[in-house]
């Protein structure tokens, strides 16, 4: 039994059960009426787990400390299967500026149910969210529920204000690393940068996901490496990797293409098709990269996975691709992760030899077709569950003819096609600074949604830099979430 288990009447497993039930009940409360059977069952399940703790005389306290979620004093460790629960709770609490919610002995099932309905249906105000919530809560007289405001020390600046410069800092840092050529690789800085990225991802993944729509800044490989790192870290977090493992994964992702610096630029950036000799040389970059990492002076401090990923990131699950293995019989988990995100970022990036890029949606379709052959099928599925069928940065047309940019995937994998979208044009094509709409919002009719994505567009065709919209979201005063959405209309477009 772990130390955590001994601290409380509830085990880590039971605590996880509380969170899952809380999450499901909260979401159901948004959609269903109070007398819905499924909702009632879920409430009962949740109340039973609460009661088990409350009967011991303890209170049930859900607390957020930085990017961790605690039940009483047990810190919950999340893995792939319940990561969306973690994201959801963290996001809801932070939106309302709730630091802790305590349920006290004496709590009744009705009281708990009413509280969940109250909170889930409440609209988030633009400011003083906690104070306004607390006032309403007091008026509603929940006798056995107490909320605490997030402590000042836990308040963070707008994530975007940190995320944007941190993203570019990564590119500058990699430039320094790669410029060092055979010199010292300062992995201390790399590690610190990765920590910052992981911290930012824990607070709000969408801004950094959005940043990965930036391509070819400074140098393709540098920008690409940072994008691969961000996406790999995000997938790694969902897989439940420890922080040490995330550091290793991050370094590996950053350095996966280091071998390209050993290949002449005129081949790497050659417009048009490579000759067979040039292709053969290009295909040496994984082994050249691994050899270079081995030769650098920090090789002893370099995580082993960095060598492995540099060598393996063009190998398929069945060891097809290049270079060929002589003894090893499978590729590492990190290589399989990097292979997926590397491929995704690469084919969504315009290059001299690839003027037409894939939209994120097209890229995922292509990758799904290659699932199993080129990519680990389960990891690919996990990746798509993470970024959604319409990844952040997708320029989309909604079924009411509004145009928007996907700015946040749906945390619930069941709604991969229903992200949050920032509206950038009305139904007639007039650009506007529209609100953010959540595509899971019901229409009020049976099984219907208010809006759905009809198709994605190629931003290059419209000279649109989607990252501009995402960056504008990250700017001060652009919290976005609370902004009222533009009212949809039924006007259909006419062909220009």
């Amino acid at each position: 039994m772990s130390q955590d288990d001994q601290k409380s009447a509830v085990s880590a497993r039971e605590a996880m059960g509380v969170f899952v039930n809380f999450h499901v009940a909260y979401r159901q409360a948004r959609v269903y009426e109070q007398n819905n059977v499924q909702f009632q069952e879920r409430i009962r399940l949740l109340f039973d787990t609460f009661q088990k703790i409350l009967q011991t005389g303890e209170e049930v306290q859900i607390r957020i400390v930085q990017d961790s979620v605690f039940l009483n004093q047990i810190r919950l460790k999340f893995n792939f299967s319940n990561f969306h629960v973690y994201l959801f709770i963290l996001e809801e609490f932070k939106n309302w500026r709730i630091g802790a919610a305590s349920f006290l002995p004496g709590l009744t099932e009705v009281e708990m149910q009413s509280f969940i309905i109250f909170l889930s249906k409440k609209l988030l105000p633009q400011s003083n969210s906690f104070e306004r919530l607390a006032e309403d809560l007091q008026a509603a007289a929940f006798a056995h529920i107490r909320l605490e405001k997030i402590p000042a020390a836990e308040e963070v600046k707008l994530v975007g204000q940190n995320a944007v410069p941190m993203y570019f800092l990564g590119i500058y840092h990699l430039k320094e690393i790669f410029d060092a050529r055979h010199g010292v690789l300062n992995l201390h800085i790399t590690k610190r940068w990765i920590q910052s990225i992981v911290n930012l991802l824990a607070l709000d993944e969408s801004i950094l996901f959005g940043m990965t729509t930036i391509k070819n800044f400074e140098d393709y490989t540098l920008n690409h490496s940072v994008n691969v790192c961000v996406l790999a870290l995000s997938l790694g977090r969902r897989l439940g990797l420890s922080r040490r493992e995330l550091i290793e994964l991050g370094i590996s992702a950053c350095l996966h293409d280091v071998g390209k610096f050993e290949i002449p630029n005129e081949i790497v950036d050659k417009p048009g098709k490579l000759t067979s000799d040039e292709r053969a040389l290009m295909e040496l970059h994984p082994q050249r990269g691994a050899a270079r990492l081995l030769q650098t002076r920090t090789a002893q401090d370099m995580p082993v996975s960095a060598f492995v990923v540099a060598f393996e990131h063009h190998l398929t699950p069945s060891l097809g691709g290049y270079p060929k293995y002589h003894w090893r019989r499978e590729t590492s988990l990190f290589s399989r992760i990097v292979k997926i995100v590397d491929y995704y970022d690469a084919i969504t990036t315009k290059r001299v030899y690839r003027p037409k890029t894939f939209t994120p949606e097209e890229a995922l379709r292509l990758m799904v077709d290659l699932s199993g052959k080129e990519f680990d099928p389960i990891l690919l599925k996990a990746f798509i569950n993470m970024i959604g069928v319409y990844p952040i940065g997708s320029l989309v047309v909604l079924d009411n003819c509004e145009i928007g940019v996907v700015i946040q995937p749906n945390a619930n994998a069941a709604f991969v096609k229903r992200p949050k979208v920032k509206l950038i044009s009305d139904t007639r094509g007039n650009k506007l600074d529209g609100g953010i709409v959540d595509l899971v919002e019901p229409s009020g009719t049976a099984n219907g949604f208010k809006r759905s994505i009809l198709m994605s567009l190629d931003p290059d065709q419209y000279d649109i830099h989607v990252y501009d919209y995402l960056l504008s979201q990250a700017q001060p005063g652009a919290a976005g979430r609370a902004k009222p959405e533009g009212k949809p209309s039924a006007v259909r477009p006419t062909a220009p």
Partner: protein, 583 residues
């Protein structure tokens, strides 16, 4: 690390400040003690417990203890709670240098976390100042109830950032939201098509495609979790070595190939020092494969591998490994001996030492098996261990040769019979006796003329002269000399038995004369010679021996008669056996 709003400034009450001061003093003392003494030392343990007690007492009245970090001081609510004049060696500086501004312990901090925190601080404080990073170390430890604040501007100070946000990414919203988006005709057409198809039943292809985006099912989640767990079980050293060897295998540039070999050499030394023979053995095995593959195809690489192996041989730490083995520091004996077998010749002496001085029966028997395997592969190499001045090694080598019965060992045993050390010579003769091969018999025959009686005797006991009439004739001639009778009874018996075992008619006739050798006075020498001849006739066992025995039974001395009769009886009671056993 993201922002952390400034702590509530203000004067703390004197009692709390005093408590915090005590905690911080004990913290610095604890770290000092932990740096000086190993983990279990009573002094370090005492301070560790004291620190925990002080913290526990503090948390009875407070939810958290937050301290601000200056270059050489800790502040608590704006007041100096700890200060050290020696900036660079101070505990505050350890945190400060890596950009940490605040550190907080939260209520709920348990013993494990405190231990982990202290161990982390100790570990980093022992590293050179520009190597360790306390922020990185604490972040990786992921302690639930320890919080710190290290703002990103520290990171920005370490990287040359041209522009925090490059100008092309500084968005002007007024431009962003002005104008129109007019869809291209192809997109409009696509849109209408999709609108129409939205009303239609969904095509099977689309359903299949959508299924591939569905949330992972239970089985897939389990697979994913076991994949992650599987990855955690891979030893980094193995992973690293596997990859490096793969890299070596595909590397086409000679200078890089050599560089990797040089790296592997260091890796190998480190593995040996750590007594990790699994990877050391794997490395030698795979380099051996590469060596075979490059041989003839890439001479430069082949030479580099050969040099690598030579270096390894020359630097083989025989004494250190022997010491480690004898001190039972080598846990995985199987891997150790696998490694020795990959090392080959340079490990032979160590193997022999371990046969004699291994710390337990397991190691000794493994060492012997190792030498046997080596002997089977290359008896000549093994024989190099056998030296006149090293009778113990020689004994082991002879034992191995006797066991493996490889004809290639015969001349090597023959060499040992030429040593000065008599025990070694005798053992070699005994080992040669096990070889029916002619070369072994020739060596033994040559030893019948040795100066040393014991050698001659043992050689005679060992030799099988069947099918070699010349040697039989030589022996008969030798035994016919007058001085033969003066030889020791053991030597005479051995010689006559050797003649008898030859099974020839000539031998039987000669033995008959010896059994019936006349004498005026029956002296001991004569008697024992006659009796030895009877025994040799029995050993002959063929039809040619029957008549001489019958004659001896009739005409011999009293003792010869009795011995001959007994021999005849024994021969008769084993009908046909004589024929089968004839050489």
């Amino acid at each position: 690390m993201l922002g952390w709003a400034a702590g509530t400034e203000g004067a703390s009450d004197a009692k709390t400040l005093a408590a915090v001061k005590e905690i911080l003093v004990v913290l610095t003392q604890t770290i000092s003690q932990m740096k000086l003494y190993p983990g279990g030392h009573s002094s370090a343990a005492h301070f560790r417990e004291l620190f925990m007690d002080k913290l526990s007492a503090y948390f009875r009245d407070a939810d958290e203890l937050e301290i601000e970090i200056l270059q050489n001081a800790f502040l608590f609510e704006g007041e100096i709670a700890y200060q050290d004049e020696n900036v660079l060696r101070s505990l505050p500086y350890l945190f400060f240098k890596d950009g940490m501004k605040k550190l907080a312990f939260l209520r709920g901090l348990d013993t494990d976390e405190i231990e982990a925190f202290l161990a982390t601080v100790r570990e980093i404080s022992l590293l050179p100042i520009d190597v360790g990073d306390i922020v990185d170390a604490l972040w990786q430890r992921d302690l639930a109830h320890v919080r710190y604040f290290a703002p990103d501007d520290f990171l920005e100070s370490k990287v040359t950032v041209q522009q925090r946000i490059p100008s092309q990414f500084q968005v002007k919203p007024e431009e962003l939201y002005a104008g129109r988006i007019d869809l291209k005709p192809s997109d409009v057409a696509e849109m209408f098509a999709r609108m129409r198809s939205a009303a239609q039943p969904v095509a099977q292809e689309e359903i299949d495609y959508a299924a591939r985006f569905a949330p992972l099912d239970e089985a897939e989640m389990r697979t994913l979790e076991s994949t992650v767990e599987g990855q955690r079980r891979i030893a980094p050293d193995k992973d690293f070595l596997d990859l490096t060897l793969e890299l070596l295998n595909v590397e086409e540039r000679f200078e890089v190939f050599s560089g990797i070999l040089a790296f592997l050499k260091k890796f190998h030394a480190a593995q040996l020092q750590a007594h990790d023979f699994v990877h050391a053995a794997q490395m030698l095995g795979q380099i051996g494969q590469i060596s075979r593959e490059v041989e003839g195809k890439a001479p430069a690489k082949a030479n580099a591998v050969a040099d690598f192996m030579t270096d390894l041989e020359e630097s083989f730490p025989e004494k250190a490994l022997l010491k480690a083995a004898c001190e039972k520091k080598i846990i995985d004996a199987e891997s150790f001996f696998l490694y020795l077998s990959r090392v080959g010749l340079p490990a032979l002496k160590l193997g022999a030492e371990l046969v004699s001085h291994g710390p337990n029966e397991d190691v000794r028997s493994r060492a012997l098996r190792f030498l046997e395997d080596m002997g089977r592969g290359d008896p000549q190499a093994l024989s190099r261990l056998a030296q006149d001045s090293q009778p113990e090694f020689t004994r082991i080598v002879i034992g191995v040769f006797a066991k493996i019965r490889d004809p290639r060992a015969i001349p090597l045993l023959g060499e040992i019979t030429g040593f000065k050390n008599k025990m070694s010579r005798l053992r070699a003769i005994r080992a040669l006796a096990a070889f029916p091969d002619l070369p072994a018999q020739k060596i033994l025959t040559s030893l019948l003329r040795d100066d040393d009686e014991d050698i001659r005797t043992k050689a005679a006991e060992a030799v099988r002269l069947g099918g070699d009439p010349t040697t039989v004739a030589e022996l008969i001639q030798s035994a016919s000399r007058k001085n033969f009778l003066k030889k020791s009874s053991a030597e005479k018996a051995a010689f006559l038995m050797a003649i008898g075992r030859s099974g020839s008619a000539q031998a039987a006739a000669f033995l008959k004369t010896m059994a019936l050798k006349p004498a005026l006075v029956e002296r001991r020498r004569i008697r024992e010679t006659r009796l030895a001849a009877v025994a040799a006739l029995e050993a002959h066992g063929g039809p040619e021996a029957i008549e001489p025995l019958q004659s001896a039974a009739r005409r011999g001395s009293r003792r010869v008669k009795a011995a001959s009769r007994a021999a005849l009886l024994r021969l008769k009671s084993a009908p046909g056996e004589g024929d089968e056993n004839r050489p």
